[in-house]
């Protein structure tokens, strides 16, 4: 049985572990923290499995590879909600909606009445929208928890250690899935700061992620059930991952208030911040140097692209294929 160590237990590490285990490897997952939690970028993710919406600004591979995600997560975690995505804009920013429509596919344009039928709590607020019916979402913490439990049940070992992936290569094949923490060895990796809020608001019910377009402050709200909502997310060219600014909170909350003023009464449960790991083209990379494989750069597409990236890592190891996400800087 092939022994493989995975360094990093966030969404990338756990997905790689799952696929490698499924293909029969003896897998060890090493993370500097015990268990999943706020130290991982994926803890704060939106969990939107929205490949078509992402096409607005992301390149083609994100749209194509992201379509694997919903089925994968459903099979592995049974945590997927397939309710689509609704995209709306305030009346004065209608140009943003038509721009969004031009850049994306697999949606239907819906009227105000149809917006209301999909989301009764947005009644009368938007006279048009875009509905991406094939998209899905999940609760990141639930999905990561189930993924980890499943791995433990299948005999994968978890170890808490601030590991240097290079040292582990002496034991055998090692996959570095540390996200931004791998910045020390990956020179072209950068951090893109994201700030999010988790609110409790019993007065609003949403059935699916809603994206509110705005030229300055785009926002998405993802319902987590039981009146809990995740609001995201800022995108700042910064690797700073400890401070949330008042300006960001103001922008997120103003946008939520524009979606439905009832959010003004919401209770703020959590404020989150982290740095998304990204390469210059904001696409993921798989690189290999002997026994060391790096899988990184999931940017804002952790849950969307980790299944495809994990599949490619496994195909490289077991089938000797060259993954499309492998670039020329690989040794």
């Amino acid at each position: 049985m092939m022994q493989i160590s995975i360094i990093g237990g966030g969404v990338a590490g756990l997905c790689v572990a799952r696929v490698l285990r499924d293909r029969g490897a003896d897998v060890l997952v090493v993370d500097r923290h015990d268990g999943i939690g706020p130290h991982a970028c994926s803890w704060w993710a939106g969990g939107m499995l929205a490949p078509f919406c992402e096409g607005e600004s992301a390149e083609e591979p994100v749209v194509r590879l992201g379509q694997e995600a919903a089925d994968w997560w459903q099979v592995k975690t049974d945590a997927v909600n397939r309710c689509g995505t609704l995209v709306v804009s305030p009346a004065r920013d209608k140009a943003e909606l038509s721009r969004f429509g031009r850049r994306t596919s697999h949606f239907e344009t819906v009227s105000g009445a149809e917006v209301e039928a999909l989301e009764p709590d947005l009644a009368g607020r938007f006279n048009t929208g875009l509905f991406f019916k094939d998209e899905a979402h999940l609760s990141p913490r639930l999905a990561l928890g189930r993924l980890r439990d499943g791995l433990v049940a299948d005999g994968v070992t978890f170890k808490t250690e601030d590991a240097d992936p290079k040292l582990y290569t002496r034991e055998g094949l090692t996959v570095d899935c540390r996200g931004f923490a791998a910045r020390d060895t990956i020179n072209d990796l950068r951090g893109v700061k994201g700030e999010i809020l988790i609110l409790s608001c019993k007065d609003v019910v949403l059935n699916r992620p809603v994206r509110l377009l705005h030229p300055r402050i785009p926002l998405y709200v993802v319902p987590r059930g039981d009146g809990i909502f995740m609001l995201g997310a800022t995108m700042i060219e910064s690797s700073q991952k400890t401070h949330v600014t008042a300006r960001s909170l103001l922008e997120l909350l103003s946008a939520a208030y524009a979606l439905n003023p009832a959010f003004g009464e919401a209770e703020v449960l959590e404020i989150g911040v982290d740095a998304r790991p990204a390469f210059p083209d904001n696409l993921p990379r798989i690189r290999r140097d002997g026994n060391l494989i790096c899988a990184n750069g999931l940017f804002r597409h952790g849950f969307l692209l980790a299944p495809a990236m994990a599949r490619m890592v496994a195909e490289m190891i077991f089938d000797n294929t060259k993954p499309e996400m492998m670039d020329e800087t690989s040794a």
Binding site: L189, R190, P215, I236, E237, S238, S239, H243, N282
Partner: protein, 257 residues
């Protein structure tokens, strides 16, 4: 090309670095347009602990003149603090000075602008003020030590083009020797060409390129327009007139009664 604080630029295209789908696409836009100035806005939060340095390194590697920007500053104090941070980060005296006075139109607060310009020029900065086409404000900015002026075409990010051609023409006529850059509001290359035909020395834009479906192609289109407008202005365009003037002589031509 005109002299900007002692630097002669090889063309009149200045590009912003925000809002691109990715840094790689931004780099491509600079390559294809040969834009020679990159503006970059600093968030105070990333300036403080140099957390933005990976992105700034990409901008430095463009190999163009970097013009840091006090974008989003609403007060003199904020703008001055940001300018100092920018000088430290990018090692340049150049600063594009924005003091925003109106939240909806992002119109400059020209009173704060003049005050901040004076403070910064006294401190050794070379200030590129984002202003309106107002001639009195322009004069006060020059008095404050500015040697370049950047009047708006239209509100930032609006893509409306040159909203007040009369005002801009009169600004050009009043300050024939001052480098003038149309900053903000351009949406299409034809509008950039129009600005250059009017005798402006450069245009600065960001959203029109960054938010285009193909930013690099749009950057190249703007570069072509800027070049065309610059050539046209230097070639002394004809005056428009009301009556037709045939371009081939009619004298002696046979005609039927």
């Amino acid at each position: 090309m005109r002299d900007f604080y002692g630097t002669t630029l090889k063309n009149g295209l200045m590009l912003g670095t925000a809002q691109y789908p990715s840094p790689a696409i931004m780099v491509e836009a600079f390559k294809r347009s040969a834009a020679c100035v990159a503006t970059v806005s600093l968030r105070r939060e990333s300036g403080n602990d140099r957390a933005g340095q990976d992105f700034w390194a990409i901008i430095r590697d463009l190999g163009v003149h970097v013009l840091p920007n006090t974008a989003g500053c609403h007060s003199v104090k904020e703008a001055v603090t940001t300018a100092h941070m920018a000088r430290e980060v990018f090692g340049t005296k150049w600063i594009k000075l924005e003091v925003i006075g109106e939240e909806d139109t992002l119109q400059p607060d020209v009173f704060g602008l003049v005050e901040a310009a004076r403070i910064l020029t006294d401190d050794g900065f070379q200030v590129f003020p984002y202003t309106t086409e107002d001639l009195v404000v322009a004069g006060k900015l020059l008095d404050a030590g500015c040697e370049v002026l950047m009047p708006w075409g239209a509100p930032i990010g609006s893509g409306l083009g040159l909203n007040n051609p009369y005002g801009l023409k009169s600004m050009r006529a009043h300050f024939p020797d001052v480098p003038l850059v149309i900053d903000a509001g351009l949406g299409l290359p034809s509008q950039a060409a129009q600005a250059m035909e009017m005798g402006f020395d450069a245009v600065l834009l960001n959203t029109a390129v960054a938010k285009a479906g193909d930013p690099a192609a749009m950057a190249e289109a703007f570069a072509g327009a800027v070049h065309a407008g610059h050539l046209a202005a230097a070639a002394d365009p004809m005056e428009p007139r009301d009556m037709a003037a045939p371009s081939t002589p009619v004298l002696g031509k046979a005609f039927l009664l």
